[in-house]
Symmetry: C2
Amino acid sequence: MALRVGIIGGGQLARMMIAPAVELGVDVRVLAEEPGMSAALAATATGDYRDADTVLAFARDVDVVTFDHEHVPQDVLAALVDAGVSVHPGPEPLGVAQDKLVMRRRMQELGAPQPEWAAVSDETQLQAFLDAHGGRAVVKTPRGGYDGKGVRVVSAAHEVQDWFTTLAEDARGGELLVEELVDFSRELAQQVARRPSGHVAVYPVVETVQRGGVCAEVLAPAPGASARLRQAAADLGVAIAEGLGVTGMLAVELFETTDERILVNELAMRPHNSGHWTQDGAVTSQFEQHLRAVLDLPLGSTEATAPWSVMVNLLGGPQEGGLLERFAPAMAEHPRAKVHTYGKAPRPGRKVGHVNVAGDDLDDVAYEARAAAAYFLD
Amino acid sequence: MALRVGIIGGGQLARMMIAPAVELGVDVRVLAEEPGMSAALAATATGDYRDADTVLAFARDVDVVTFDHEHVPQDVLAALVDAGVSVHPGPEPLGVAQDKLVMRRRMQELGAPQPEWAAVSDETQLQAFLDAHGGRAVVKTPRGGYDGKGVRVVSAAHEVQDWFTTLAEDARGGELLVEELVDFSRELAQQVARRPSGHVAVYPVVETVQRGGVCAEVLAPAPGASARLRQAAADLGVAIAEGLGVTGMLAVELFETTDERILVNELAMRPHNSGHWTQDGAVTSQFEQHLRAVLDLPLGSTEATAPWSVMVNLLGGPQEGGLLERFAPAMAEHPRAKVHTYGKAPRPGRKVGHVNVAGDDLDDVAYEARAAAAYFLD
């Protein structure tokens, strides 16, 4: 029995599946967008994931296809399924991750708590939503946004005039998503793994700290979370994974409100930045878990190996030189810090790596993760 | 600054450096003996490590050369050094690991505690040693032995007649090593990492359980070891690393005597089976540590992440089918078990993988590691 997992997309999430795959003895093969990407070591093909022939040819030699990102078009996914390829997550859950309006509708059907929202197709509809929600709201393009792109906080409908213009020019028409501005105390993320045969494994809910719409830090588990909150997040994660038929890793990004409710913000159906701490702080990392889940193998323990873990993203990297030039001072000062880099050139705002620290005292762990990460940023 | 580590040898130790290299962003390149070896994913060249031209060509594109094994001949090592290649560990410490008689002489010079021993060049000399040591002793060929090969317990000199015959036919002549049979209570291993610039990092001393001359299990840390014993082992490891100028990982295999002394059994100058537990039970695995050490980067914390870790080797593998066919039952029963396989075909006695379990209770951890490993062995 060969276990060959084909990953579409050569970014850092594919890269971080390589280490557990090598250890398990699973053969990972990557279809990379271009040469020299983060997951180049395991790249067996280079090509456009939007081209069905390219993807079908890549899928011929693997037992299961999974993803570094959620952008593979539905027609390509359908071609894979028609060809008898095992695809995890499948087209239906991926469709939910690909379109924020579809996601809001499905969450509503599942009875998942979420911010008030509407689909709006012109400025008049948007203005009506604004007027009904205190004059400010978040507008999102349903497709193609990530890391804060395609998201605007507006207080007047004309602030997204350009997006409506683009929609009007699109022959398929379309709508924007508008959501109430949630009065949240912090953001959380709940990760769940689910096998095709149905078994789920639940990670502890974590706190995510965003800066400029991009994840900056993760504290695991979420400090001060009550047993009730932890259970509510876990139950919600499982309900969404089961309700949508997700296979592999699911991340549910959540708002925690000032009255300790949780509301679904976004979904990701793949390993996720909020789970990078598991590489050095949990028995089974999210990357190994994703491989096990998509191969329909029994899931590993999601138990934390230390009371606290903190992950700090390396955003942008140093202005001069590469990340590896900063190894010496960072490692000398912080022998507990686990440095992960993605083989990407530094560029402002770009995620080029992260640092994990695990230990007994949250303040110490957070300090050390931040201090080690600071060596990589000017 | 590129960090390119060239590893000579494509076995499982090279393979297990791939995961930490990918995470750090270090570029590992492997000179494999043949295609399809354990470290094939990172193999950039295939060829004979005894051929200087092959090795020099491989070394041209890397920043440092290190090893999967200690068998690279001294003339090839000398050619590398002459060509200005950074080689870690260097020819001198490797020479000590390559010849058990050289090792015994160097240990004697360093004042390291060791079994009584002698170099014997004929049956008369060997019989004299036997007569002086209760009539039984261990005879070893100085070169080429590993995992119990080239080692015999004898009670009469003629039992190694074939080895003396071989020596007599060798134009270079030579001697066998004979050692007293140590009355040991158990075997231990002390690992130390050392940078070229001199800094050392010391792992906790572990207990190794051998079966048929092959490592079967490792318990970390060594159960019931007194503070005095732990300190003595650590001091000895550091003294040997410094005394021999070892760079990278050093494993000192030790006998613990019934009166709680420790005696040097063997040395290994590379990651070692006794340290596989560090992959899932220490802040810095021996494979990451080796990379850091040979690159002269600051060493990582050697702290254990759990009170107890147990490693069980998969020796031989299943009689039918591959290791991966046993994943499902092993993982279903033991979600805490970390399975590592080496991409090698099962064969009686062959090391084809290992299982690590870490946790709070030694009995539970040992039970679970053994039970999970048993699924891979008929």
